[in-house]
């Protein structure tokens, strides 16, 4: 008689690897064979995980079609069995898996689309935090501005993309014909976040994209202004004009609920 642990080991190896050792420990009868009985669990295992991935990566599925997507999901399930208590996290490695999958090495836009899908999920249930409003700018003493560091809302995610994935994403959501993948003129940055309870996204302006990562990583306001001034589009601008552009960007971020704190500590 097998121990409980041995039963679970053999059962799991059947579900994950197709191992058949467990078969001889399942009661069979004339109505339904032990093979059919086990198949119910095998089917449920893969169906449940594919369903979770199809919800989390709905854009990728829309592009690939259900059949191809399911086949890729099976590869993922085989290589990345869930170690998570909740299905919420099962897709964590899926974007990287798509990136490295031999079928998609020539289609890097699929990775970008998967990243976008996953960031929407992460922004959706990121930690709650009160955001500041533009009126808080009045309270900052003029002499403090150079040392100000911005703290961003936990739901703020962003990534650089090189393909027309925003166009593709819109086509999918609007149920229009999905455009062919194309490289865009220059890499751009997509920002995804949650404002109140609603998930938002937009493409950053070019100069905004150049300083956004620094801002999130805690650069001072002065260093952000300095970096802006070095950009081609601002190279010939007066310092006042750079300061105004920086302030305008900060006001936008505050209006969008991206900022939770203006840290004045030097």
């Amino acid at each position: 008689m097998l121990s409980l642990s041995e039963i679970q080991d053999k059962f799991q190896r059947h579900l994950l690897q197709g191992d058949t050792d467990i078969l001889t420990h399942i009661v069979s009868d004339q109505d339904i064979s032990h093979i059919q009985r086990l198949a119910t669990y095998k089917h449920a295992y893969t169906a449940r995980l594919i369903e979770a991935l199809s919800i989390d990566f709905s854009s990728v599925m829309a592009v690939l079609g259900e059949e191809t997507f399911s086949r890729i999901c099976l590869d993922y399930i085989n290589q990345h069995p869930s170690t998570y208590a909740s299905l919420r996290w099962f897709g964590s490695e899926f974007p990287d898996f798509i990136k490295q999958h031999s079928d998609f090495r020539e289609q890097p836009y699929l990775y970008e689309l998967a990243v976008m899908d996953w960031m929407f999920i992460n922004a959706f249930d990121a930690a709650d935090h009160n955001s500041l409003t533009p009126s808080c700018m009045i309270d900052v003493p003029v002499t403090s501005w150079p040392d100000i560091r911005l703290l961003f809302h936990p739901s703020v995610f962003y990534f650089t993309y090189r393909w027309n994935i925003i166009e593709i994403w819109h086509a999918i959501k609007d149920a229009n014909k999905i455009p062919s993948p194309l490289l865009i003129d220059k890499p751009a940055v997509c920002l995804i976040w949650r404002q109140a309870l609603s998930t938002q996204f937009r493409v950053l302006d070019e100069d905004e994209a150049a300083i956004f990562d620094d801002a999130v990583r805690g650069a001072t306001f002065e260093s952000l202004c300095e970096k802006l001034s070095l950009l081609t589009e601002h190279r010939d601008s007066e310092p006042e004009s750079i300061a105004m552009r920086s302030a305008a960007l900060l006001k936008t971020w505050l209006e969008e609920g991206l900022i939770t704190q203006l840290d004045c500590q030097p």
């Binding site: 008689m1 097998l2 121990s3 409980l4 642990s5 039963i7 679970q8 080991d9 059962f11 799991q12 579900l15 994950l16 001889t24 420990h25 399942i26 009661v27 009868d29 109505d31 339904i32 032990h34 059919q36 009985r37 086990l38 119910t40 669990y41 449920a44 295992y45 449940r48 995980l49 069995p81 869930s82 170690t83 998570y84 208590a85 909740s86 299905l87 919420r88 099962f90 959706f124 249930d125 990121a126 930690a127 709650d128 935090h129 936990p154 739901s155 949650r194 309870l197």
Partner: protein, 285 residues
């Protein structure tokens, strides 16, 4: 009629599984539902819409928590991270009670995300009792465990499922969440009389009842929770109420979501059976 006297847990009446598809309808219409059951793992997140809706719904309805990843029958050590998340969520939600399933879901660190059957024998009973006590000690409360639908029997099983279930709950001093649909599904799949099951469990342990639909493949039933409750399950439900007295009852729907009114109608049907059996309206929260 048996009289229940649970000092710790009240009788809640007639409830529904809380699903995101119905959040707005519930808040807008405040339907005549006595309580809701949440799937614990769906709310083990840092923030956002789900927790916000739950907080608002909790203002108007009692809530119980129902987990799927405790893996109480597993042989890996109990997952302390998961248990802490569960306790943290319970601190926030303040559920009337908390339940999971009499099954295993995780082995060697890998989660199958399914409610897998256990062999029904004394070794498994001892294993479960030890782990249930650990969980109850950690959470500081009695838990409920639910019978799962099963599609196979191990040759290592030596007693009936209801004898196994009863012994585990008695020895571990936990409560039963009796899923009447699961009893029916397993009865058809394993060729036993579901009435024997209902007669075979201790009435004083039955704290909650689940009712749900399934998919019948002709002599073999899969517990899909995507159809209305069938007549055979309603009949068994009536027998359960006759045997156990009033038990907090809910409809569990997890897929193929109908208009909300259809679930309310199903719940009303359960209420009517309760009134027929007990001769009075049993609860309004």
């Amino acid at each position: 009629m048996p009289i229940k006297n649970h000092a710790e847990y009240p009788y809640l009446g007639y409830g529904l599984g809380l699903r995101s598809e119905y959040y707005d309808t519930i808040l807008e219409q405040r339907p005549d539902i006595d309580w809701f059951e949440i799937t614990s793992e769906n709310y083990m997140v840092s923030g956002g819409k789900s927790l916000d809706y739950l907080d608002r719904i909790r203002e108007h309805y009692p809530v119980v928590m129902h987990g799927v990843s405790l893996s109480i029958g597993g042989t890996d050590p109990l997952d302390k991270t998961y248990l802490k998340q569960l306790r943290d969520l319970a601190d926030r939600v303040k559920p009337v009670w908390l339940s999971d399933h009499l099954c295993w879901t995780i082995h060697a660190g890998k989660n199958i995300h399914d409610l897998l059957p256990l062999p029904y024998n004394s070794t498994t009973i001892d294993h479960l009792v030890n782990r249930i006590r650990q969980v109850q000690d950690y959470l500081g409360r009695q838990i409920l465990l639910e019978n799962v639908s099963s599609y196979l029997t191990y040759k290592e099983s030596q007693i009936s499922e209801w004898e196994f279930f009863s012994t585990v709950t008695e020895k571990a001093d936990c409560m039963m969440l009796l899923d009447i649909n699961n009893v029916y599904v397993s009865a058809v799949n394993h060729h036993f009389d579901p009435a024997d099951y209902l007669h075979g469990v201790p009435q004083e342990r039955v704290q909650q009842i689940h009712l749900a639909g399934h998919t019948d493949y002709g002599g073999f039933i899969v517990d899909t929770h995507d159809h209305p409750v069938v007549d055979s399950v309603w009949t068994l439900y009536q027998l359960a109420l006759e045997l156990y007295g009033p038990v907090s009852t809910m409809i569990e729907r997890d897929d193929n979501f109908p208009p909300f009114q259809e679930l309310l109608d199903e719940l009303d049907h359960a209420r009517q059976i309760g009134q027929v059996v007990h001769g009075r309206k049993t609860c309004s929260a």
